[in-house]
Amino acid sequence: MNTNRSAPPAPPDAPLLPVGGDPPAEVGNGPAVADVPVRVIEATKGWRLIDFGELWRCRELLYYLALRDIKVRYKQTSLGAAWAVVKPLAVMLAFSIFFTRLARPDTPYALFAFAGLLPWMLFAEGVSAASGSVLANQHLVTKASFPRLLLPLSASTVAVVDFLIASGVLVLLLAWFGVFPGWQIVFAPFLVLGLICASVGLGILLSALVVVVRDLRHAVPFVVQLGLFLTPTVYMPADKVVSETAATWLPLNPAYGLIANFRRSVLGEPLDLYSLAVSGTVAVLLLVVGCLYFRRVERIFPDII
């Protein structure tokens, strides 16, 4: 018998007998278990590619997440979606003032710069938004179950929407300067798709890396800024400005070849097949590698985030 001077003894905190999974006394009548989905949850390991079936089943969630990101972006701003137009225009004006000497005689520099800035912003903003998306949605990652890939995917749509809006300005600029695109314009949509592929791929890769190595969170924005100068946005194609070597290696930056060729297709010039091939391959590789790495580490997101 336990004794205690001031109060009845506290109950002993002895280890309890382990109680197994005894079946309950009563069982209700649940819904028929014939056609319900069965899910086995256990530790997984190794590399996995995308589960397209799961993504397809969750397409409506992707839609609502994307809608959220798009709506929230310009809420309570007076200009609203006009910001998608103002930003590239402002950069274009700044560069037009300082860099007109880089212009070729046959193309107005403003148009030249805008046709480069527009796809660059699609790429850069897509990467920035997607790379921070998993961290920004911590509460969802730790509290809800859904394919994590939806986060960088939905974040990227913001850049695509901005791009579509600003494309209207490109059309107006073309008309203003009286430049009529040639038949090469038919390649533009495919080049945009390639750019989206590169930006989503890099974004997915970075969004997972940023969770694992937080330091990258600080590195991503300024590396993206530097990227502006490795990409033929505001200056001439590399072969005319820098060396032959640069022209050989720069297309490894997927934005390089895709943006250069996007502008060529818009301004009615022949495509540069070398840079297109290299950059296109890099873009596809980025998407595959990004997804592979993301899928490998997404299982530990809620543990380490």
Binding site: T3, P12, L16, G21, V72, H139, A144, S145
Partner: protein, 433 residues
């Protein structure tokens, strides 16, 4: 076939940031070299994490098994409460069952669509309107667009925020926010609903509404897993409870029994209910048997037996005992515990100046507490009798009676009292001086 079959489920976490020792104790040179090599090691260690974040050779002292070898099966239509103190692994278990976290070992097989409610308003965005958030939150919870559209009016009616449905939710009061969020979840109809502590929010009226909604969901044959600190809601809703302690399953059975073992830390063996079982027959008691508490009457000032009492009213307790042999000056007492098993009051006859003298046979003692200040909530009583020198327990009946405390009544009814603000109220006189 069970809806949920859990076999040896375990989850390992590493303590600290990758389990490095305390930096303060290291010599200076180690700190300097560590500053250079540390980030590099951390970087490479993280880029290629092992399975479930486990580095190649984890040190055992960094290990925390948040869940260890947990096994159970839940049949279709069951409502099961999960109880345990903070850090006992309840939330980890639910996160594994909802597919948010991967287990380190073991397996769970789940048959049916799972709706999880680990938090009220998961994914609610403050900038979006109520309407937009209903669709976003609904799709996060697993509802399709058409399904949400069909139930939209019902959801809004349940939440009582019709007038503000097109206002950004950042303008909502916290009550409105919670109501809207719960309304979405209440209209999910999954095969399995997993709920974590959501009833801890909102005012009393809305909490009741939530409980009703959960009962309605349970009535449809849905399997419900419910985690809560509020024993009363678990007791009310669930017939079966599972008790986790330090990541291990230590109790699984009828709710009353498991809750009792949780509150007392003892092993449960019965299904007696404190509302109906006579104190004299209560199973969980300790003492040398020289006396036995055979009754505990809980009454108000007028001596009427009560189950509920407004705060600030008089409590009259009558303890009936039978002494099998004479005892000189025994001490009588009653412990009052809150819903989580903590002892709030220790009433004893010696504090009240009772000198009972030599006692034998049947005895009743009465204790009166003027203006009982227990905050609104559920309480349990444990009467006891000790020898006069308090060295030996004659009888101690653990948690054998219930009392629910209510808010102020009568002339004081307009006084506000919120259970989250305190534990015990005392009358106080105020003046300007």
């Amino acid at each position: 076939m069970p809806t949920i079959q859990v076999e040896n489920l375990s989850k390992l976490y590493l303590l600290g940031e990758h389990g490095r020792g305390t930096p303060e104790r290291r010599p200076v040179w180690a700190a300097v070299t560590g500053a250079v090599t540390g980030p590099a090691r951390r970087l490479f260690g993280r880029l290629a994490p092992g399975r479930n974040g486990r580095p190649a050779a984890p040190k055992p002292d960094n290990h925390l098994w948040a869940l260890k070898d947990v096994s159970f099966a839940i049949e279709p239509g069951e409502m099961v409460g999960f109880i345990g103190r903070n850090g006992s692994g309840k939330s980890t278990l639910l996160k594994i069952l909802t597919g948010i976290v991967e287990p380190t070992e073991g397996r769970a097989t789940i048959r049916g669509r799972v709706g999880s409610l680990l938090e009220v308003g998961t994914g609610f965005h403050p900038e979006l309107t109520g309407r937009e958030n209903v669709f976003l939150n609904g799709s996060i919870l697993g509802m399709g667009r058409k399904e949400i559209a069909r139930k939209f009016d019902e959801i809004v009616a349940f939440s009582e925020v019709e007038a503000f449905i097109d206002t950004p939710v950042k303008r909502y009061s916290s009550g409105m926010y919670v109501r809207l969020a719960f309304a979405v979840a209440a209209h999910l109809d999954p095969h399995i609903l997993i709920i974590d502590e959501v009833l801890a929010v909102g005012d009393g009226a809305f909490q009741r509404k939530c409980l009703e909604a959960m009962e309605r969901i349970a009535g449809t044959g849905c399997t419900v897993l419910f985690v809560s600190h509020a024993m009363e809601s678990v007791r009310h809703l669930c017939r079966r409870a599972i008790y986790l302690r330090s990541g291990r399953l230590v109790g699984d059975g009828p709710t009353a029994e498991v809750i009792h073992s949780y509150l007392t830390g003892s092993t449960a063996v019965t299904d007696q209910d404190p509302d109906t079982t006579p104190v004299g027959e209560w199973w969980d008691r300790q003492g040398n048997g020289q006396a036995r508490v055979v009754g505990l009457d809980i009454a108000d000032a007028a001596g009427r037996p009560v189950r509920r009492l407004p705060i600030g009213s008089t409590l009259r307790l009558t303890l009936h005992a039978e002494f099998s042999r004479p005892v000189v000056d025994p001490c009588f007492g009653v412990l009052i515990h809150n819903d989580e098993g903590q002892t709030i009051l220790d009433l004893r006859s010696f504090h009240g100046g009772l000198a009972s003298g030599r006692v034998e046979g049947r005895v009743s003692v009465e204790a009166t507490v003027d203006r009982l200040g227990l905050y609104p909530g559920h309480y349990r009583f444990s009467p006891w009798i000790c020898t006069g020198d308090m060295t030996e327990v004659l009888d101690w009946v653990v948690l054998c009676r219930n009392l629910e405390m209510l808010g102020f009544a009568g002339p004081d009814a307009d006084r506000q009292i919120d259970p989250s603000d305190g534990v015990y109220w005392a009358p106080s006189a105020w003046r300007v001086c």
